[in-house]
Amino acid sequence: MKTKSVLLPPTEPVRMKPGNTSLASMEPKKRGKISHLETKNPGILQKLMAMGVLPGMPVTLLRRKPSYLFEVDQTRYAVDREIADHIFVSY
């Protein structure tokens, strides 16, 4: 599989706008939207997408400790730092 890191959606280049952060550094309790996913690690990417963490979905960070706890649409997920760094959010 590819290891190149590409930001998606592929048709519109995504720049790191202000307000565009990784989930790990997102402000808790504030509502954002997933802008794109890091594609370096195909395993993690596949898992995230299969579980419904996809660009365009609304996201709220609920906790940073003891693990990252966030809500996408109606579902809650607990992830570690490494995975939280794979998800990018815009407000």
């Binding site: 599989m1 990417l45 579980m51 906790r63 693990s67």
Partner: protein
């Protein structure tokens, strides 16, 4: 209450194969994401029972049962949850293989109505695979509580499959579903999704090359999509087909090369492109069936607030329930408050209820009063009078006799303890506490090479490590599975053992703390060592947290009963066999010899030679060893220190035969032997160290 007919094919702990219909009944296959209620639905449709719990990854094996719908019999198949047709963990692969292999009469795709948007892409995949489908929107009660409304008729028209709403835990909507199953006619429609220039032409090419390759169980388009995502099972299928056609090459149809080429040319993983296109297609459907809840890409925060208020008003009846669950949840997952909650659960659930009440009070009553004073003396007297042969008397009512030892231990000692344990355990499982625990311990578990997820098989291991060894399938990397298998075999005592040890040491709090401390230390030490030694990366942690739910009495009762049932069936024949073996051993003098050999390590850790029998039992089964220890404690043979040393050694001692077999199945013979070869000396070494230390410090317990 329907009494379950316990069986699941290939289940380690249950050799009941009688319920595998195995005939040519039409098959109803339940598939869907984890924790959406597939097993609940299975229990409503079939005469069999599959375990239902509130965490993803409950079912890790396929369960088959028979069910009557209308006036026809069907084979009903429950599968482990999977997130998509393209699996990541092993239990998902079990389901995927099954879909490839069986020819279902109908597939019921079970989804959580609350999360339709997230789960519809899988429906689309199943349709692409041309599987005959009915869509079941389960958990309609929770969706209503949250004010979610779905236009089912419209959804059904768009997808051209029947769509039904159910509350499977309350058996609502089941009759309508059954009628639909009986009248089911597959529709020919396949959703036409465009995947873009990197994928579509290649899909066509694949379909063309496979034109006369025969049937794969799923459509060639779906197989092609899996091939492009380089799915292992898809390639295996292809190789099998190649072999049938007499082609011995690895890449018969040249598709591996094609897939590699495709992913080289695309500028990001094809999986990503495919998933995005599918979700876009699903979003289009969602707009039509749930018009007022789009995912939020077009609206500002102001409008969203208005809308959620409107939704909250609609959801009045459920709002309070949700609020309470929210509050409890924020305590359970709190980095500081979560820890005392954990200790409260352990103290009351495990120590007070299982250790002191069940293993202490109840066992004392059954073992000493009921069996010791009434049943056994009576049977012994009757038996001795009826059968005047001392040899047979010894076999049945002697010191290690079938009645006096095997049956007494199984009924008076093991059954109440595992019963109490499984009861507490079922309650914990059904609330949804386990995923919260996983979140809480992830940081600590990373230090021993595990992700927080591994806490689920570890906790299950306290019930029966054989069962838990199978559940390690839900862990993603081989390394993580191996480490958890080692720890399960080594440091996790099973419920019977734990209950007995808690009860023996309950009058001796310092001893209890020392025992617990040593076991925890060993757990951490071995885990840390394994993580250091084994090659590979630390696992990552991602887990879906299901909502906290109120446990249902009926589910707890059935689950506890079914687990006690299999445990008893598992334990009794082995206990009887142990009695018979000992009897033969005594006749041939082998028992005395084995005892003599075991006496060396026993003395070495500072125990009286009589305790050798306990370890000999322990070889057979952990719980039999613990039962032996209980007997010794009862007759007051051991001092406080000796009890602690014996408890430590026995806890760390050999896994039982069943678990050993399961480790072979999951990890292979070599690994299983290596694990056991390591455990035996290390258990005695730990016992030796504890004894020497306590001795040197002059501790009196």
């Amino acid at each position: 209450m329907k009494l379950p007919y316990i069986c699941s094919k290939n289940d380690c702990c249950c050799r009941n194969t009688g319920c595998d219909p195995g005939t040519d009944l039409p098959k109803i296959v339940l598939v869907g994401n984890p924790n959406v209620g597939k097993s609940s639905l299975f229990n409503s449709l079939s005469e069999s029972y599959a375990v239902v719990s509130n965490y993803p990854g409950t079912s890790v094996e396929i369960t088959r049962g028979k069910g009557r719908i209308g006036n026809r019999e069907y084979e009903i198949i429950d599968t482990p949850g999977m997130y998509s047709l393209h699996p990541i963990s092993e239990e998902e692969r079990v389901s995927q293989r099954m879909l490839f292999g069986e020819k279902p009469y109908v597939c019921l795709h079970v989804v959580d109505a609350r999360n339709l948007r997230r789960m519809l892409p899988f429906t689309v995949q199943l349709l692409e695979a041309r599987l005959p489908l009915i869509l079941v929107l389960n958990m309609m009660d929770e969706a209503e509580d949250r004010g979610i409304e779905i236009d089912r008729a419209k959804l059904s028209r768009i997808l051209e499959v029947p769509v039904f709403g159910t509350v499977s835990s309350e058996k609502k909507g089941i009759e309508e579903l059954k009628t639909a199953i009986a009248d089911f006619k597959p529709s020919g429609k396949v959703p036409k999704i465009e995947y873009g220039k990197n994928i579509d032409p290649r899909l066509e090419e694949i379909e063309k090359r496979l034109e006369d390759a025969g049937n794969f169980g799923i459509s060639k388009r779906a197989l092609g999509l899996l091939l492009l995502q380089e799915d292992r099972t898809a390639f295996e299928k292809l190789r099998e087909k190649g072999k049938e056609k007499g082609c011995e090459e690895k890449d018969c149809f040249g598709l591996q090369a094609l897939a590699e080429e495709a992913s080289k040319q695309a500028d990001c993983p094809l999986t990503y492109l495919i998933a995005l296109q599918r979700q876009t297609y699903v979003n289009g459907i969602m707009e039509q069936v749930m018009p007022d809840t789009d995912p939020g890409d077009t609206e500002g925060p102001g409008r969203r607030k208005e809308k959620s208020e409107a939704a909250a008003k609609k959801a009045k009846p459920g709002a309070k329930k949700i609020g309470l669950a929210e509050n409890i949840d924020s305590i359970l997952t709190h980095p500081v408050l979560g820890i005392p909650v954990l200790f409260l659960v352990l103290y009351f659930g495990l120590y007070r209820f299982v250790g002191v009440f069940a293993a202490g009070t109840v066992v004392d009553f059954l073992e000493n009063a009921v069996f010791g004073e009434h049943i056994n003396p009576w049977i012994s007297a009757q038996f001795t009078a009826l059968v005047p042969y001392p040899l047979l008397q010894d076999l049945f009512v002697g010191e290690y006799g079938i009645i006096t030892q095997a049956v007494t231990y199984a009924i008076a000692l093991i059954l109440p303890i595992v019963g109490a344990f499984f009861l507490v355990f079922s309650i914990i499982e059904d609330t949804g506490y386990l995923p919260r625990l996983a979140l809480l311990v992830d940081g600590m578990f990373k230090k021993i090479g595990l992700s927080g997820r591994a806490v689920i098989p570890m906790v299950l291991g306290f019930g029966c490590s054989t069962m838990a060894t199978m559940v390690t399938r839900t862990l993603e990397t081989k390394r993580e599975r191996l480490i958890s298998n080692i720890l399960l075999a080594l440091a996790i005592p099973c419920s019977a053992q734990l209950g007995i040890i808690l009860s023996i040491l309950s009058g001796n709090p310092k001893g209890l703390l020392i025992w617990a401390g040593v076991i925890i230390l060993e757990f951490i030490f071995i885990g840390y060592l394994a993580a250091k030694v084994l090659p590979g990366k630390n696992p990552t942690f991602i887990l879906e947290l299901p909502p906290l739910r109120k446990p249902r009495l009926s589910n707890i009762a059935v689950k506890t009963y079914s687990r006690m049932h299999w445990y008893f069936l598992e334990v009794l024949p082995l206990f009887v066999m142990a009695s018979v073996l000992i009897w033969i051993g005594k006749l041939t003098g082998l028992f005395a010899l084995a005892l003599k050999v075991m006496e060396y390590p026993t003395q070495w850790i500072g125990l009286p030679t009589d305790a050798a029998a306990v370890f000999l039992f322990g070889f057979f089964r952990r719980d039999l060893g613990a039962a032996g220890l209980y007997g010794m404690h009862d007759s007051g043979f051991l001092t406080g220190v000796q009890l602690v040393v014996a408890a430590v050694t026995l806890t760390l001692f050999m896994p039982c035969i069943a678990q050993f077999m399961m480790t072979i199945k999951e990890r292979g013979l070599k690994t299983a032997l290596a694990i056991s070869g390591f455990i035996f000396p290390s258990a005695f070494l730990a016992g030796f160290i504890v004894n020497t230390l306590l001795d040197a410090l002059g501790v009196v317990l």
